[in-house]
Each structure stands twice: as C-alpha cells, then as structure tokens.
Symmetry: C2
Subunit: 329 residues, 2 copies
C-alpha cells in the first residue's frame, strides 16, 4: 500500500480509503491512486485488513458430507447467497461425527468468521460453548425439531416422516419395511423414522423390520437392499426409504425384475431430487427446500444490518416441505 501511495503521491491512508470506498476522496486523487494500484498490480491483504478491522467477510460452513447431493444443494444455496454479498464460505465436513464437528468448529472459529452454518440441531456441549464464547452469528439448517442455538432454517423432519406414513396408510398399505443407510448416524433420518413409526403405531399397522446399511446412501445400495428385502419370506407391501437415492435404487430393482410398483410393492423416498422427474415412474416422496435452506441461512449471516449478538431468543424458520404423491404408493 505504501508503494501505491508513493506512486500516487498521497499517504497510505488515502490509498486505504480509495480501495474501500470509504470517506470523501476527490475524483482526481481517486483516479491517481487507482492507476497507481493498477500499474503495480497491487492486491489487498485481507488478513491485515481483517485483523485490524476485527471483521471478516468469511462464513464458516460445516456440513456432514459432500457425498450426498442434499448437502451440495445446500452448499450451493449458501455459496450463492454469500457471493452476492461479498462473503466467502470456508468449510469442512464432519462425516456425521460430533467430535469432528467440534474440532472443525474450533479450527474454523480461529479465522474469526462473522458467521457459521451448522447442519442440524445436535451439537456437543463443547461446540456450543466455543460458539457462544466467540460471538459469531450462527445459522443451523435442515432441521427444526429441537432448540436452535440461534436461528434454524429448516423443516420438521419428524413431520415429514409422519406425513409419509399417513399417505401410505391412506393408500391401503399395512405392512412396512424401513430402509436406511449410514449406520443410522444421520440424525435427521432417525427423526423421520421416528415420526413414521409413531403414525404406524397409532394406526395399528406393522413395521415389519428396519434395514440399516452401513454404506453411504446411493442408488446402488438402494437397489441391493431392495433385492434383499423382497427376497425374504416376510415380504412387506411397502418400503419407506430414508431418501430418494435409496428409493430410486429400489425402483430400478423392480424395473429390472418386472416387479410392479405399487401393486406388488409400494415405495416412498425423501428429498424430491430433480432427477426423479426423469424416471419412468414418479416416486412418492417429500420435496424439501434444500437450496432455499442454504440460501436463507447465507442471506441471514451475510446481512450486516441484522443485530449482531441477537437479543432475540432462539427460534426457527420453517421452510416447510411438500408431499409429492407420485405413482409409487
């Protein structure tokens, strides 16, 4: 900056003001400084700026995985919202581990980000402490069943499970199987299953069994699991999958083996991923506002005007979901 100042014949402070568009600068000086900066290829050092000004345009983003399009959709929403306001996401993945989340949060907080995005509402005590000690603004996403640290942008996972169960029951199905993945480490899937179970119980229907694969969810895994489920003696009349990937794998299994859906077996998924529209048969699923959850969280954190240390008490913003009836139930 000194070099630019020398070259433009002004003080370093004036250069700073020009670069940041702050304070009044005569047009003449401004253009001289801009030219000088251009000429020597000056690039601001944001580390210094952020250190001194005690604020960074950085938002920490902590997600369970990048291997599931659900989170890349969310990340996409966050990124778009942030980019628009000149913020940058800096992020890490937890692989669904609370310990890793804790370490990551601690590390990311050392960059003094002005905000942090967390997935879900369940975090270790230490994570919560670290966050509240740092006074970053927090946005939790995906879930609203529980108490947020500050603001949660999400939907009720439990209600999604309930609504799916109700719809399947309404269509006459009585004997169910649940198919999930990730060893059940996905807490939100667990909440959906919980809601699903509850409605079944109240209706006197049967949840024959719960299949939880240890693999990450994928179409291939869904196809495999479905093959297993359908080859057992206690064949159900409907399968509730923890998400669309698994469910569409199930559809593929049936398609490939001439099993008629929903006559021989009904299936339902969760998420409402775009590719479902391309399948030969429309999957019954819950459409979730993935991009929007990320986008809203990003907007919230990038909003400079919002009260910094929210005096408002923890609350959630329900972005809802819709049941896509489809043809598989």
């Amino acid at each position: 900056m000194d070099d630019v100042a020398d070259r433009a014949g002004v003080s370093q402070m004036t250069v700073s003001r020009v670069m940041n568009g702050k304070g009044y600068i005569s047009k003449e000086v401004r253009s001289r400084v801009e030219t000088a900066a251009q000429e020597i290829g000056y690039v601001q050092n944001r580390l210094a700026r952020s250190l001194r000004s005690e604020q960074t345009p950085l938002i920490a983003v902590v997600l369970p995985t990048l291997g599931n399009s659900v989170f890349t959709d969310v990340l996409s929403g966050i990124t778009d919202a942030l980019t628009q306001k000149g913020f940058r996401p800096v992020f890490g993945v937890t692989e669904y581990s609370e310990d890793k989340e804790e370490a990551l949060v601690r590390d990311l907080l050392s960059w003094r980000p002005s905000g942090i995005v967390l997935a879900g509402l369940e975090h270790s005590q230490a994570t919560r402490r670290a966050i509240s000690a740092s006074s970053v603004r927090v946005a939790e996403i995906m879930d609203i069943d529980g108490t947020p640290i500050s603001v949660a942008f999400g939907m009720s996972q439990r209600a999604a499970g309930q609504e799916t169960a109700k719809y399947m029951l309404a269509n006459g199905h009585r004997r169910f199987v649940y198919a999930g993945s990730q060893d059940g480490r996905d807490l939100r899937a667990a909440k959906r299953l919980d809601g699903f179970r509850q409605v079944l119980r109240e209706a006197g229907a049967t949840l024959v069994s719960e299949h939880i694969s240890s693999e990450p969810s994928s179409m291939v895994e869904g196809r495999k699991m479905t093959s297993d489920i359908l080859s057992r003696p206690d064949r159900p009349d409907a399968i509730y999958y923890s998400n669309d990937d698994l469910a569409s794998g199930g559809i593929m299994h049936c398609l490939a083996n001439g099993i008629s859906i929903p006559d021989e077996i009904a299936v339902a998924g969760f998420n409402g991923l775009p590719f479902l529209d391309a399948l030969p048969i429309q999957l019954t699923t819950i459409v979730t506002p993935r991009y929007e959850m990320g986008h809203r969280a990003g907007q919230f954190l990038a909003d400079v005007n919002a009260t910094s240390s929210d005096a408002t008490k923890p609350h959630h913003i329900d972005l809802g979901f819709t049941l896509h009836e489809g043809e598989t139930c």
Copy 2:
C-alpha cells in the same frame, strides 16, 4: 495470548510456542499453558498468525458450478486431501464465466492462500497475470489438452471423445447425433465433441446434427432432448451425450416409451457416475477419475515440502479414463 501468558506465568512467546508445538518447551510449562488456555477458552487468531508468518493454510478453490455432481466429487476430493493436512478450502463458483473467474481469483488471492485450484486450462490473461504475480502454487484440474500454468491433474477430454466415437463405430453405428447442454459454455465438453467429430470424419460417418440445450445438464433435460431427437424425421442410430445425466435421461425416455436400446437407438455418455450401476441397463460411458483429480490436486497444494515456486516447467499429470462398455451401444 497475553492473558494466557499471565495466567500461566510465562511470556506470550512461550504460549505461542506451545500452541504451535514449535521449539522446546518443558512438560511442566506446556501443561500450565494448556490449562490456562483451556480455562479462559482461548482461541488462536489465525489472521494475526498468518499475517505475521506470511503463510496461510488456505487453499482457494474456483469451480464452474456446484450444480453438477462432477464438481462436487472433485470438491470432495480436494476437501479430503486438504483437511488431512490441516488446510482449509475457501471457494467460489464461476458459472462457467471467465470474467467471474477473474474477479473471484483476484478476491481469493487477497487472502494470500498458499495454493489455488482452477478448473480447466483456459483462463483470461488477467487471471494468469494475477496468479503469477502472487506466487501462489496452482493446480489445474479436469483437462490436460493445453498448456497448464503450472501443473494440471486431469485427463484428455479430446481422447475421451475419440475413444467413444471409435467404440460406437466399431459397434456398427453410422449416423450420430450429439446432445449437449449449457449453451456449449463447457469447454471440456467442446473438446470431447471435437475429438468425437474428428474420428467420425475420418471414418466417413455422419454427425447428423448437434443439439445444444441452454439449460444446465440434467436427467430431465436429457429425457426431453432425446424425445425431440427421436421424433424428428432424420432419426440417427446413435446419440452421443455430453455427459451421463443427459444420457441417462435418454435411457429413461426409451424405457418409458418401449424403445429398445441399443437396437433402435444406441447411446453413450461421459463420466461414469455411480448411480449408473443401478439403472436397468448399463450405459456405455467413459469413467473419469473425478475424486482423484481433486484429491491429487489437493495433496499437491498441501504438500509443504514441494518446491514453492516450481522451477519445473508446466506439465500435466494424466490420470486417465476408462471406457465402460455397458450395454447401450
């Protein structure tokens, strides 16, 4: 840090050494410092650290989009490699625009990252200048057809197109249609098409037409395009899609309309996405090392031992690809 030092009864410098595990510290002092830090909930300020030490564990990542699983796979590879070595990705998306890439690179460079990942080999003059002026280490990914700035981890897009064409020709197809998306802004898809065309020309086969949708690629879009293509009078006997999303949409169209593949129409894609394995029919495609390209690039940039300002001249590392024959040709 001063507070920690006071509490532990040592100098600030000692705290610094403990926090960073540098230099010799007696066990006694170390534990005193660690306790003190714990007690007051001390969190390093990496801005200050990076400013003073003139190095950051930050890697800038610039990708065209997050809306295509190809790039999220790559990002996943990058993230894994970086995380392992204590680096953090900070990133942005260009939406396939060179101008946005330029602005993004400039902005990200202001964080003084120690490395930057760029997609493809084509960048504006200004982008190249900004990068070379900053002395960050650069890794380009995806493509190797061209001259990298420094090191490229990728595969030959052109060769992929050529190999696909050869395989399809070998299977007796003669009249082709190409189906692409993104308004052709995807330069790598363009290179594949180029290789494809060339082989066709040499073999005297016909490229009946090229359909380029303005939408981002997706299964739904692929299904739509296929429907269009097959309803025209000059029906081809094979379709080469710019990627698997489009191609599997084509498969879905055929499946839903009782069109037999490859008898009535042959199809081929590109990428070898995992979900293909779940489809009722195996798509002929090129399997690309997406995660690996990201991972290798990440490892390279996070490798502290590597020569900083590579004296070595620009080169590429060919991670190759494999043709998955499948059943659709």
